[in-house]
Symmetry: D2
Subunit: 360 residues, 4 copies
């Protein structure tokens, strides 16, 4: 049996941190060996200090770990970060400088020019920014790799297969689950029988991150997609799952069948489809007129598939459709783990080499 790689989770007591722990419980390559949590919880057993917000209880193995303060020494080669923005800003780079490979879900370092904003199916080649990063920063084994905002995810997943048709302009109106705000996050008094048409800072991210993620690596930098995006964000009373209504203007005029074929056939470059956390079908078109629905489709592909539906003509931009991703799996922890799997296979994860059999 293959020796699993030790990983640390930063911000492990928060909502996304918990999802990391849940998703890694039976991971074939990685094993949670260290956890960091809020200052209040440092020094306690994880199982006693965490307010577990997912179903059931945290895994026993992790419950018995002691929570480390953020300034502790970490020995795990691989670190997943679910830190808030402020502590992420400095601590992630320190740990990368110290030789750790840090896969972060925080927004703090996401747009740094030499940090890959990685979504393997869409831009696996951006991983080579790590070489640039290491050279510039003088790092050898360490690295800093980010994944996108959770609402950016269904946007990029659904537009990546359409790049071939020339994406020029797109509008996004989101309906976002409460888990996107973490825990305790949205007070119930604010969201029961309500919709809040505002999420601080979110629209800016949606208007920029997709352009970088859908861009090309050229000359050691990302050449952003030359397109314009307009986003409007809403919080709705659902637990998990972000749904976006997208209108898109394409340079070419593909038929609806062309577009659906592009979505259903989208796989991402080798070796992405073989990675343990990669879904069989990254983007799946649902032909029923009233799908995708948040509750019924968020778990598609174990939460890693983006469901798309309702492709029809937009009288203004040409095409419109609906896309849905699970925000704390594909949109957060699940994508970070997929990123780390790609790093492992591509040789960026120290000398860790997963056995071919587990992913080929």
């Amino acid at each position: 049996m293959m020796q699993k790689l030790d990983v640390a989770i930063l911000g492990a007591t928060g909502a996304v941190g918990q999802r990391f722990i849940q998703l890694l419980e039976e991971h074939p390559w990685f094993r949670v060996a260290e956890v960091n949590g809020s200052e209040r919880s440092a020094g306690q057993l994880y199982g006693e200090s965490v307010r577990w917000v997912l179903d059931g209880e945290p895994p026993d193995a992790v419950s018995n770990l002691l929570v480390k303060p953020l300034d502790a020494e970490f020995t795990s080669p691989l670190i997943f970060s679910a830190l808030p923005k402020a502590p992420a800003q400095t601590r992630e780079a320190e740990l990368a400088a110290a030789g750790h490979v840090v896969c972060t879900n925080a927004s703090a370092n996401r747009m740094a020019p030499d940090v890959p904003l990685l979504l393997p199916e869409a831009n696996a080649d951006h991983i080579r920014l790590i070489d640039v990063q290491r050279e510039r920063r003088g790092w050898t084994s360490g690295a800093l790799v980010a994944n996108s905002n959770c609402t950016t995810m269904p946007v990029v997943m659904s537009l990546a297969p359409l790049r071939q048709f020339g994406v020029r302009r797109f509008t996004i109106v989101s309906q976002q689950a409460i888990s996107g705000a973490g825990y305790p996050g949205v007070p119930s008094m604010d969201i029961l029988d309500n919709v809040i048409p505002y999420i601080g800072g979110e629209e800016d991210k949606l208007e920029t991150e997709p352009l970088r993620m859908l861009g090309q690596l050229a000359n050691d930098a990302i050449d952003w997609l030359d397109a314009v995006a307009s986003a409007s964000c809403n919080r709705v009373p659902v637990i998990d799952g972000h749904l976006v209504n997208i209108s898109v203007d394409l340079a070419e005029q593909p038929s609806h069948d062309d577009i659906i074929a592009a979505w259903n056939g989208f796989r991402g470059p080798e070796p992405v489809p073989s990675l343990p956390s990669a879904p069989e079908q990254p983007v799946m078109y649902l032909p029923k007129p009233d799908r995708p629905q948040i509750r019924r489709d968020r778990h598609a592909g174990n939460g890693m598939t983006t469901s798309v539906g309702r492709l029809r003509a937009c009288p203004i931009l040409g095409y419109k459709f609906v896309a849905l991703s699970h925000n704390t799996i594909r949109g957060a922890a699940g994508c970070s783990i997929l990123n780390a799997e790609l790093l492992a296979v591509q040789g960026y994860l120290h000398d860790f080499q997963p056995r071919a059999a587990t992913f080929a």
Copy 2:
């Protein structure tokens, strides 16, 4: 004391029918004298046959009315219709032909060229289509007047004040309450912890009705607004209130202050502001960044005010904002009643003349 005018409610046992009854409970001019309900309920007391879905209980005076079948004779000069589409199609015109003034919330006759799709603040002059209608159809005292779809309402209310800037294109993404689907309507299994990105037939209405409603009466017909609309509709788990995310392209480039002033200053032509059901402010701009919110703002102006917020630049169409109306008050029964009030004051309601004191 003024003698009140008898009114009949068609479809009185449904969700919108109930709202008519609730809103008319203490109306200064009108008095519910006849109710029609489902076939099953005909011949029973209203209070015993209705499954009252609003708060509390139906008013005693109406509870004691006998439910009439749809083919019964009605004696009330004014009829409010909350019928489903199919029975509305024929019965409404029959009753108008028989001399009744029918204010309908049904979609069946909404787009007939000689039926005013009336929203007093926005297009009070469309009322003159009644003259055309009477002449063409050979009616004398009868008339058929419609109000719009409930989601069209916040669109038209928020765009009417902007006509002066040249409305050319607009996108609408709605988040609609369950009460919009009537009763029993949306099964709870379909909507708890869910969003359904589809409402049958709704997007077509949103892409056409606003253009007719925002048009000009010219040569005995409505000259539609020359604009293009694109709509996407979503059902969300809230009880009442439809919220729309709108992006709009205007021919002129008004400042944000210009637009806000246009909204806050919008009143509709005389005598609309003096009508009993007219809100003090038909459109109100809320400056807080996270408003309007469905639950907290749907009751503004007793459910007759459209709340608008979040005006900001749209990178694609120029401007974007959020608008909210109560769907069964302003978007349905409340607007029909306001329409009837305007008809009364303009002399279209037989010889009924409300005392000036009650509305001046």
Copy 3:
């Protein structure tokens, strides 16, 4: 016009504090003149510092008040307290000692033997504990009067009319709204699509407060009702309204009609029924088999009526039924205000005397 009495609201930025402000907006006797809020908000305008959780916006008159710190001097003769338990413990008594009449919703001083736990319809005579209190504590014009826990309210309201039949044992299983936990209170991640069968400290209150409230004033002390209560508390995803399932063992064997007549005829002693905030009918029996329902009946009597329903035989204790009260109106701010109205009329509120016309 009568001069209104100035009142101060302690804890005015919290959920119950806001309800005080809303209910007092058009009160015929009282006028909000001072507000205290969280330390963070002291010195700011109320309208700018409050996170208003009710519908719409706070009244302008209150929005423009400066928030006072808790240790400030207050000049209003009457103080309503919506403080958390810890600051309530000491500050309320200090203010009463300084001559203010303090009507508190906090639990801190609720069970002190000389503090009336007042619910006017049920135990108006307990008000005479104030004389005991003043004598013992050496206060002259000041006083400290409490109202019960918000879930105790429907229990006491529904059992008070049954005291005549000899209440011996009762079980309570509650289903409580999120607003009972204040703001931010219950995180939405904890309550959407969920029920939490636990509310810290609540069951103890439900097993003791009703016995004191339903007791008799005798020899300068309350002689508790000689009964046994067992309570189980659940948090459910509704916004306002606490519903209790009650089984009760009565010494006598009244018929169901006797019990219903006792509820519907219950009024409380003079002058309680004439007080401005007293509902026409404090307890109302709803004969429909599926009522009361939280959303549809919580606003009965402007939130001051307790709705009761489903009276039927309990195979174990004799009788069972359902009762419902609005938790932040009848169960909190509304009851405190009613208490203050009774104090005014009974001459306990300094020399303030409401004009008879306003309440007779």
Copy 4:
């Protein structure tokens, strides 16, 4: 590989019917070969006629089956019935008379004296009523076996381990999910932001079924448990999971540790623990003060474990606690399947003999 046994699902398009199909998708012994649905759907492909209310889509193998009318001939030896009460009444017995083993979730035949109301962990020996049934009714291979009401389930599961202490009286107050009412079931207008304290017929079932299920088989009949139950039922806005607040009077005075040990150690008689659908732990005590919670604990043991918590003293009956079961898995389809597994192993399912290896 073992040949799987063909099974038919009656009422397969309903909410419980769908759960049967979902749970049987990868069942080691049984294979869905026939489906019956509403009259409207008869003759159509299952996948096209069903309004699938669970997550995702129905399994392909079942989607391609033709829906049979209820009076069709069925060839599957084993039939699971999720029929409404009226058609269940006659058709189930007809099919059993024709030689089918019918495991029903319907209430129609549940209380017939010779029909076992089977819950394997609690009363596996009741299965021998089939011999009585066959003899009385002249059936040879056919049989009719029922499972309980979905809310009875957590009551019986939590009380069965306490029979040793002498269960004498118990009160039940339920909080039941919307899926318990089937589809379309509860209109969303009735349950969003609401609790309905009434479920027609449910309380009667809760006051009788547990006494029969917890009884002893003696002289070819069930000797009911000599106890008294009182039930109150509430519908709450959660999707799946029924929670009950129980108070119980026990003849003996076990310590809390005794009771918890009884629950955690409860397994049911051999061979029940080895059946494919049997959970590792049928009843699990959760020590945290705020558990079980409906959303977080309903999936325990794949929906087959009953979670129990909050054991504490009841001042009236002695003990009180909370129990939770997944209503459409353990409380309906899952229990029927477990029943069929027991029938197979005990030789009541024609000559079908599962391979020992799959369940030992």
